[in-house]
Symmetry: C2
Subunit: 360 residues, 2 copies
């Protein structure tokens, strides 16, 4: 992802010289935005243009359904979020939930509400991102709903996928002794958010000064355009490893561990120095005089996978470079501890994100 | 539906003496709102509480997916929309889309965004309506997403259903000569909207005067708490009638006929005096000095079914009291005519609802 995407307020979402939505009308707009998508192909029988989409599930496979609501001012700030990335992310976060179930994506519905300040060209950007993600994850556009909004931009995506029932990884399957693994690195998206919010405040006072985000390209990219880790799910299948439990990291690993432990009636111990944190995340944490591990534990929106595997599979996974073993499950239900490099154990609270309080 | 539901601004969505959402937090709120729902039962394997819901589709059945976005100030006005009805309606409009495909509902996801002005008690009302509709239509709650909103109330519902592939009724299957049928009556929801908007304007000036809606109970009920016509779909199956094409009436029958004709490469002729219009709708139209047929053609949100059947099945359907034959398809692609009782034919424009213009 090129750094040039991360400039501030460059997107002309407004009207000057652009096409108004009203000119196309609702049905014209849907036609216009969805024409870039390929025609329905198997297993999809019909997509956009009827009362509902229709697809044929693979024989014997369970259907997996998830949904995410993205609201302007709560989940994204259009001051620094390119609409193309937002479209990509709206798909990715849903596919990430399917990946967390060890399911393969089939299709998505996309509903949006926009105020008349949005141009058709702005929505084209949004849909370019959606189309890109659909292609990247092999998922088809099933349909959606389109509305004006008196408020900000509203995006609602639902994804359906499928998996053999025995292959599905729930949150409740972890057992004491299981190894806890995390894909990629964590805390980066929160670091990106910290940087963007800081630069936004600067930009507000000095709109003539475009922030230089070159040295933050990775963390900013992690926030604005995360990837669903379908690749990890497929790697595990290749390795013949079936996780006992799995989640995606949307609220920070502390919160996710609390879910896993509560639903699996276990505890967990993780090792601070084993948690994969990118050097840019560490650098940002230092700038803000905060411990990097706090970003990893309580920062959200990483969309990595956290999963548990039986200890007997350690030899199979130990050389995998796409995920790290960060600890193990314990029999002490509800007790989640972070062990420092010096061997000191402290309890971890599930802070996570709470969209109902004013700050994450 | 008792008239007492239709009073103005009676719902205390605010905080005085009520429970704030922040007090429960996101996960606490989800637990609280969903505890009234039954535990997942077949074909649902897991519902709320994991990254995604999982269900087992019936062997050989196609899966049908639809979604609707409901935004405060665009789709509903909380000044006169009880939250309990809104919850019911959010489910009903999605089930209606499944019915229009001749599919049976399986599950729904419900996402909402609310500002902090909403109390937990207000959301309980919303969820009471959702639970009621789930029970009425035999559909299970699969999951959802919950967020704060800086704007108004945002509701996004996705429904999944299933049907044998050969049983699905698309919009493109109508043939010249097919009879056009409409269930129930049409135009009533629009009449209800006209009345409520008028009374709202009065109420704004004189908040001490509660409007008497007794003589408008039917039309107001049609707007605020519509039903999905699953019963019609099942009646047709009992009669052994497979519609050649079907849609639900969400934008007015003029708009729906245009869709059916365009996708089926046909025209249509309908007879003004055959269109089923309730006497209350007629009365409201007369109060507003508008032709009742305009309400039926261009008023939206009736959620009745419009469908076509081969003329050879006329004897089977002619005695059905739950739907009326209003006309027939013609070979004149794109030409849709309204025939008056005197035999005069006029072309019908597809006005429909356009949420991107200021008025419906």
């Amino acid at each position: 992802m090129a750094g040039r995407f991360y400039t501030f307020a460059v997107y002309r979402i407004g009207m000057a010289g652009l096409t108004s939505i009203e000119r196309l009308g609702e049905f014209g707009l849907i036609d216009h935005l969805t024409k870039r998508f390929p025609l329905p192909q198997a297993p999809l029988l019909t997509g956009i243009g009827d009362d509902a989409a229709v697809y044929l599930p693979a024989a014997g496979k369970a259907q997996v359904v998830t949904t995410d609501l993205l609201l302007e001012g709560v989940h994204f700030d259009l001051g620094y979020t390119p609409l193309r990335h937002l479209g990509y992310k709206a798909v990715a976060v849903n596919v990430s939930d399917l990946a967390a179930m060890n399911a393969d994506p089939v299709g998505i519905t996309v509903s949006f509400g926009v105020s008349s300040r949005f141009s058709v060209e702005a929505l084209e950007e949004l849909y370019a991102g959606i189309a890109h993600a659909c292609e990247a994850y092999g998922v088809q556009l099933l349909g959606g709903d389109t509305s004006s909004s008196r408020q900000g931009l509203v995006l609602s995506v639902t994804a359906v996928g499928e998996a053999h029932p025995g292959q599905i990884t729930y949150r409740h399957g972890a057992r004491p002794g299981d190894l806890i693994c995390v894909s990629g690195d964590v805390g980066a998206a929160y670091a990106g958010l910290m940087v963007l919010e800081r630069e936004k405040a600067v930009f507000k006072d000095r709109p003539d000064l475009q922030p230089d985000l070159t040295s933050y390209d990775y963390v900013v990219g992690r926030l604005l355009r995360p990837e669903a880790r379908l690749d990890i799910v497929r790697l595990l299948r290749e390795l013949g490893v079936q996780p006992t439990a799995m989640m995606d990291v949307s609220d920070g690993i502390a919160s996710e561990l609390h879910h896993l432990c509560r639903q699996s009636s276990c505890g967990a111990q993780i090792y601070a120095h084993k948690i994969p944190i990118d050097y840019q995340t560490v650098a940002v944490a230092e700038e803000f005089k905060l411990p990097p591990v706090a970003f990893a534990l309580n920062g959200g929106e990483d969309y990595e996978l956290i999963f548990t595997v039986p200890i007997g599979q350690f030899d199979t996974i130990k050389s995998a470079r796409d995920f790290a073993v960060i600890g193990h499950m314990t029999p002490d239900a509800g007790i989640i501890q972070l062990v420092s490099e010096g061997g000191e154990a402290v309890d971890i609270e599930a802070q996570g994100w709470n969209h109902f309080t004013s700050t994450p």
